[in-house]
Symmetry: C2
Subunit: 425 residues, 2 copies
């Protein structure tokens, strides 16, 4: 872990702003391009072949049967099912407030113009397999699409010898997924982008995956929309003397256990707190099941930054633009206006970041690697589009067509001018 | 021009759905990557050097002086200035209705959660030089950013031996651009993405450009946000016997004159109209200044599709997902609900498409190449982001923390569970 102290704000910002840019190796891009071409050419057969080759699973069918999904409820503990149900309620009530609506106006007689908001027709959600099969991510991807009004929500997830994780199936069912296919990797992304005999072509693909999935999403971008290419998880914590060092250490570790590249940053005006957090981290790390991962992330990617004032704490953190930001200061809500760049903000001692990962309601699919400067949490509007419309009658165009023609000719586009003049010839 | 008749809807859709995918040649990508690296390393000096090398212009300063911008008003005809002023009013009043706002709710006592909507801090707008210097595009890019509340809007445009197009300078001034720099090509995109001594780093880059500009935007995507990589212009027209063939031909040509790759498609249930439009096209083409371009686009990229019913006309057009869509049918507003995929819709005889390019108010920066399936016109929300926030107090977390821990342990993330439990230890 790096400790920064007695350093100017500018040099601090320069030091911490270097992000890990994970470019995809050319070899992976080449292989993924080949997989995409094969799926386009051979459809379902390619999917069966790749499942055999990459997942070592011989599939009879691609679609997961309704009975399998219903049976999954018996394999998940009632405590977890009830927690997921509570999460569905909270995520739904939060995201319903994000729904956009259209508008119409008549700026003068004879003119009607507006914007019609409509959901995407079909969306595909990728859910990783194995230990990264997160039911919570299923909820976070699917519920906003459902609220947007997407008619067909398709989930894909890699086939497993022992069957798909039942908690993932339960989450998909609770969130309202329409169809689930057991297919993973670049071949699943290709199937969603171009369609096969069984799998429908979708308009947008969301959800995280390994390097092959990320490469495939980049390559099909344009053919379909994608959410983002997520980087390693990040937490930034702003805290002063009033904060509990054990709380802060625990929250830093909750991100560090995700990934050896995860980034955990504490910015404080208290040397005492900084020291106590260091001690607490060492202590808490000892008993963590994912100690090896968390330790490596803390050693190589964590930092504690000590600056003199609260104002400087915010300046530094806005430059970091963290995915998750905790404000552990007295009366934290007052600082909401000081935050320019962050994905999701957690205010006060009891808004521990994992609360947002699972239950509070805001989305946990968030901008990473500093992209919170210009992008936002996944939301309902990511599954809506708007279509503009304009109606003019004769008297309205009569008043305006000479202005249209004047600009058109200024731009050297004579056919544009003639098109409006044509109405009055 | 291709004429389709007596063909099944499915096979029609298959025939017309093949879009021109313009991938960027590897040689251009390589050179652009080099330019970006050089601008990062050498800053302003690289910009002066490249302007000499590529634009053959020796610059004294990068920024266009306020006096030059004021002087431009004397070089543009008062008719054009007044038309641009009218356009500013209409574009502003339309886009003000797109502005998003945040929300806050208290789903139970002790919980405050919400979404804060905030503008991006700085935006860069690229404006091409030469004959493609369009004042209308300046308005369409800048006004939504201004309404969003972006504090710093920076315009870049290639240096010209004879000075920047005065109409572009006037449009920039009317729209409220904060700074204008005379720098173009990949070097301008690099400067905006990484910043130089003179040019500020921005959060998002919008605006069209040549292949070098497009390649540079792709390469800096992730470091900054970009709007889109626009393809050739498109118009789709739905019309029946009641439509005027000369109007339709004129509107098809208004897109065809843009680019030899522009796409113009008429879908109709009237063979008479189809024949009359063909005749009118030939006639109108004769006297067009940009005849060579328009003729090539009409010959190679235009089509007239004849189907039996109005319902099939919409099915076909939704598969095309055109950038611009004209509905030239009686009582056109009634069909707004039939339109699933289009960038901007023009209803009725007097809503000629060029009206939307310049004056009506909706944006003319629109999804092309079928991407209207999943994307939308440039809008105010492209320059806003939302930051989620969550505050819990002790009693609220007390009620929820065991659910958080249950899901966390289900996902194998013990540190997540301990972070919330830690508050009650």
């Amino acid at each position: 872990m790096k400790i920064y102290q007695n350093q100017s704000t500018d040099s601090l910002i320069a030091d911490i702003s270097s992000v890990t840019n994970q470019s995809i190796p050319e070899e992976i891009n080449r292989r993924v391009a080949e997989i995409i071409t094969t799926v386009q050419a051979k459809g379902d057969q390619a999917l069966f072949d790749y499942s055999q080759q990459f997942d070592n699973v011989t599939l009879d069918t691609l679609q997961v049967a309704k009975a399998t999904i219903q049976a999954a409820y018996n394999e998940v503990s009632p405590t977890v099912i009830s927690a997921l149900e509570k999460a569905v309620i909270n995520i739904t009530s939060f995201h319903e407030q994000e729904k956009r609506s259209g508008f119409v106006d008549m700026p003068k007689p004879g003119v009607i113009r507006g914007s019609k908001v409509t959901p995407l027709s079909a969306v595909g959600v990728y859910v990783p397999g194995g230990t990264a099969a997160y039911p919570s991510s299923v909820l976070m991807n699917v519920i906003p699409a459902k609220i947007a009004g997407v008619k067909r929500i398709v989930m894909v997830t890699p086939p497993q010898k022992t069957g798909i994780d039942p908690a993932v199936l339960v989450a998909a069912d609770l969130a309202g997924v329409d169809e689930i296919y057991q297919i993973g990797g670049a071949q699943a992304i290709a199937a969603l982008a171009y369609g096969t005999e069984t799998i429908p072509q979708v308009d947008k693909i969301t959800g995280p995956g390994n390097a092959y999935v990320a490469a495939a999403k980049r390559l099909v971008y344009g053919q379909v929309a994608i959410d983002m290419i997520a980087g390693p998880s990040e937490i930034g914590i702003l805290a002063d003397d009033s904060a509990d060092a054990n709380d802060i250490a625990a929250d830093l570790l909750s991100q560090a256990e995700h990934d050896v590249l995860a980034r955990a940053i504490l910015v404080t005006n208290s040397t005492t707190l900084a020291n106590n957090v260091e001690v607490a981290l060492t202590e808490q790390l000892k008993t963590l099941p994912r100690k090896a991962i968390a330790q490596e992330a803390i050693d190589n990617r964590a930092s504690i930054i000590i600056v003199p004032t609260v104002a400087e704490m915010f300046t530094i953190m806005n430059a970091v633009a963290p995915e998750h930001l905790e404000v552990q200061l007295p009366d934290p809500m007052q600082y909401l206006g000081d935050i320019q760049n962050a994905g999701s903000v957690f205010l006060g001692r009891y808004a521990s970041e994992p609360l947002g990962d699972y239950l509070a309601g805001p989305n946990h699919i968030l901008p990473t690697s500093g992209t919170a400067r210009f992008s936002s949490a996944l939301s309902v509007s990511d599954f809506q589009k708007h279509i503009q419309f304009t109606q003019y009658d004769q008297r309205a165009l009569q008043e305006d067509y000479q202005d249209v023609a004047a600009i058109a000719r200024q731009e050297g586009l004579e056919a544009h001018a003639r098109a409006v003049e044509q109405r009055f010839n």
